[in-house]
């Protein structure tokens, strides 16, 4: 840490351990009982205005005090560029007449919701897909997870299915359709098939594309116009973000999962704290994580406002990729692995910002509000809006009113109606194992509707091989087919009325789970299972046998 501070000409004097200067980051940090937190900014001067996207002084901004990360500025000797900038530099095609950098995209993933209009753009302009083998399609958002017979009962969903089938056929793109056992949620399929690899640029018309950053690649969510850009040119117009290193030191306590780590980070830095940044997650807590845990953390980078998130590749990454269908094989794999490891940020790599969090102080975490930053540890009470900084008070009051909760009410013991285990955040095999360990031998509480939705057909198959489906079904959970399901409720899985859901998904926005007045409490899959069994928010640690996690 002290290395980092001195790199930017600051002493390790705690008086310089400042909070960020920008109001948009500062506000969420006020009025809270924070854990150990240190943020240093390299820039001596900060603008007085929060200008969101604008305030990061993109490289083309003549007013920028400037962090120029281009390779030209760091010739020879040890490469002090962080992973993000190494990968970016390799993929930068040039600068467009408009001033934006043009970034080459190595891998494109598409799904049925954000791609149909993009293909129409290509048809209107008479364009082809430039590298059809560099785009892979799957279906996930609208897929029913019970009755999957075609045509779907929902005509609109059927129309979208037909559209992606036709588009993939017409433009020569591989589609992992329902009859393909590789189908599943796009952010689960990519890593599972070995498509997601370190050092690539990967985009998808979905904000949770940040998931793939777990492998040490640049993984960006994009809009539909940009999907068309990538289809036609395998490139994008995009400004380079800054890079903030988030170091979580020490060890996690038993019962604290990857989901708790990322919810805690967002709680501390705020839902807009990451605007203008890519997040590098580093430190012993991430070093010790499995790839699936790293994916859970990177997945929710977007909830913290960051453009993307990543973890440096290491032996864990290489071991995960080896042997997967789309991974390099034989000697090519050895060369790939060597290159992947060379991309990792070195100990003296440079960053635009740095935050340190003590991993030992993270608790199982639960959201109480209507954005993912509104959370508390399970042993804490719901905060009083009066304790918030003025900037945040209105939002907190609105959240409490919508949720029907009172200030100072303990979150533990809050009744739930629905339990949802699944999503691109927490729909992987390890998530199901953790939830099953809690569910085993117990029964879902009377009146609670509980769903387990595997993230992919492969996850479902493996879980069934291990007998997890039986554990869940015997406990009273429904065992479903793969899809996004109740994370965003574009399929028939929805909350009804004012129901409260304990959910392993990523967003607790108003109306997110399908009912405009439905309410969502985000938590880890193990915590969801515990809530399902007790009918209320529960500290899962009370139900766990004392083994290390």
């Amino acid at each position: 840490m002290s290395n980092f501070v001195s790199e930017f000409g600051r002493s390790a004097d705690p008086r310089h351990a400042t909070l960020p200067c920008f109001p948009y980051v500062q506000a969420p940090l006020k009025g809270r009982s924070l854990l150990q937190l240190r943020i240093n900014r390299p820039e001596p001067d900060a603008p007085s205005v929060s200008i969101g996207v604008g305030l990061q002084h993109p490289p083309d901004d003549p007013c920028s005090p400037g962090t120029d990360n281009s390779s030209e500025r760091h010739p020879t000797m040890s490469d002090r560029r962080n992973l993000f900038n190494k990968v970016w530099d390799l993929h930068e095609v040039g600068t467009l007449p408009s001033g934006q950098p043009q970034l080459f995209i190595g891998q494109h993933l598409i799904h049925e919701v954000t791609s149909p209009q993009a293909f129409e753009i290509l048809r209107e302009k008479g364009l082809k897909v430039l590298f059809p083998e560099r785009t892979l399609a799957t279906v996930d958002h609208i897929i029913p997870t019970d009755n999957q017979a075609r045509p779907f009962q929902d005509d609109l969903a059927e129309e979208m299915m037909s559209a992606i089938e036709r588009n993939c056929r017409d433009f020569g793109i591989t589609l992992l359709n329902l009859n393909d056992d590789r189908q599943g949620v796009v952010h689960i399929v990519g890593p599972e098939q070995g498509i997601t690899q370190p050092g690539i640029t990967l985009v998808c018309g979905d904000s949770h594309t940040s998931t793939h950053g777990a492998f040490g690649c640049i993984a960006l969510g994009i809009g539909t116009s940009q999907v068309a850009h990538v289809l036609a040119t395998q490139s994008l117009a995009m400004n380079r973000p800054k890079v903030r290193r988030i170091e979580v030191t020490g060890e996690r306590n038993p019962g604290v999962f990857a989901k708790d780590v990322i919810l805690h980070i967002i709680r501390k830095l705020g839902v807009q704290g990451g605007v203008g940044y890519a997040y590098e997650y580093a430190g012993s807590v991430f070093d010790e994580m499995t790839m699936e845990e790293r994916m859970t953390v990177c997945n929710m980078s977007i909830e913290g406002g960051a453009r993307c998130g990543y973890v440096n590749p290491d032996q864990t990454t290489i071991d995960y990729i080896r042997g997967r269908p789309f991974a390099p094989q034989g000697e090519a794999f050895d060369r790939a692995a060597q290159w992947w490891l060379s991309l990792a940020s070195s100990d003296d790599a440079e960053f635009d910002d740095h935050v340190t969090i003590d991993g030992a102080e993270i608790e199982p975490t639960v959201t109480w509000g209507i954005n993912p930053g509104q959370s508390v540890g399970v042993t804490e009470s719901i905060p009083d809006p009066e304790q918030f900084h003025a900037d945040e008070r209105t939002g907190a009051e609105e959240a409490l009113q919508f949720m029907g909760l009172d200030p100072n009410q303990p979150i533990r013991g809050l009744s739930i109606d629905v339990a949802f285990i699944g999503s691109c955040t927490n729909g992987r095999l390890s998530d199901l194992r953790e939830a099953a360990a809690v569910a085993k031998g117990n029964r879902v509480s009377d009146g609670v509707r509980a769903l387990v939705v595997p993230g992919s057909q492969q996850v479902r198959k493996q879980a069934e091989h291990e007998g997890l489906d039986k554990i869940f079904e015997e406990a009273g959970f429904e065992w479903r087919a793969a899809g996004c399901s109740m994370c965003l409720a574009m399929n028939p899985d929805k909350l009804v009325g004012r129901e409260i859901s304990a959910s392993s998904s990523n967003r607790n926005f108003k109306g997110r789970q399908g009912s405009p007045t439905g309410r969502t409490l985000l938590m880890s899959p193990a915590m969801v299972a515990a809530a399902a069994i007790n009918g209320c928010v529960t500290d899962v640690r009370e139900m766990m046998t004392p083994v290390s996690v």
Partner: protein, 198 residues
């Protein structure tokens, strides 16, 4: 070349709230479509159904073309359906305290300037708009200024987006397409594009 957007004039719809996510702008059930047509009527659908006073339904603001909002507008899902629904409702420019980045990028590629202003200035504009809803606002994008009656305040937008919009170069597809040779050259130097051949 796309249209040069140097200035936007129009009346304002005030929605000075923070952290408005794209699920609120357009709930996911309205994403079940294969075109963006008709999305305008679903803008803020759930909020409007639960708030009879919602500005998007208020007769004062029915012809507004500039949205005034708060911090971190457009956070959450990357769905382009969100700016598409606002655009199709009639919005041509957005003034806020800050914007989520994917949303901002989507706006720029649709030719919708999303500019940032200080909160104190937004509060001032918000009150003035409520006092005089029929008054037109001028967003002078070229000079990064907002004019509303007697009020003139500065705004900011990243230099590259400013340049793209004001010079009519926000149709990125045509620019990307004209770099075919550079795209191929970049692909050739990336190790994984040749499957790590020695």
């Amino acid at each position: 070349m796309a249209e040069e957007i140097k200035q936007v004039n129009g009346s304002v719809v005030p929605l000075l709230l923070d952290d408005i996510d794209t699920d609120r702008i357009i709930p996911a059930r309205y994403l079940r479509c294969v075109t963006f047509e008709g999305l305008g009527e679903h803008a803020f659908k759930d909020d409007r159904e639960h708030d009879s006073e919602h500005p998007f339904d208020h007769p004062h603001y029915s012809s507004a073309s500039i949205l005034l909002t708060g911090r971190n507008f457009g956070c959450g899902s990357s769905r382009e359906h969100a700016p598409q629904s606002l655009m199709r409702w009639g919005i041509q420019a957005i003034i806020g305290e800050s914007f989520a980045e994917i949303f901002f990028g989507n706006c720029t590629s649709l030719g919708i300037p999303a500019v940032c202003a200080e909160r104190a200035h937004l509060d001032q504009l918000h009150q003035a708009v409520k006092d005089n809803p029929s008054q037109e606002l001028t967003l002078d994008l070229h000079n990064r200024q907002i004019h509303f009656g007697e009020i003139s305040v500065p705004c900011e937008i990243p230099a590259s987006a400013h340049s793209a919009l004001t010079t009519g170069q926000w149709d990125f597809l045509s620019q990307l397409l004209s770099a075919q040779e550079d795209i191929q050259a970049t692909a050739e130097k990336i190790p994984y594009m040749s499957n790590f051949s020695a």
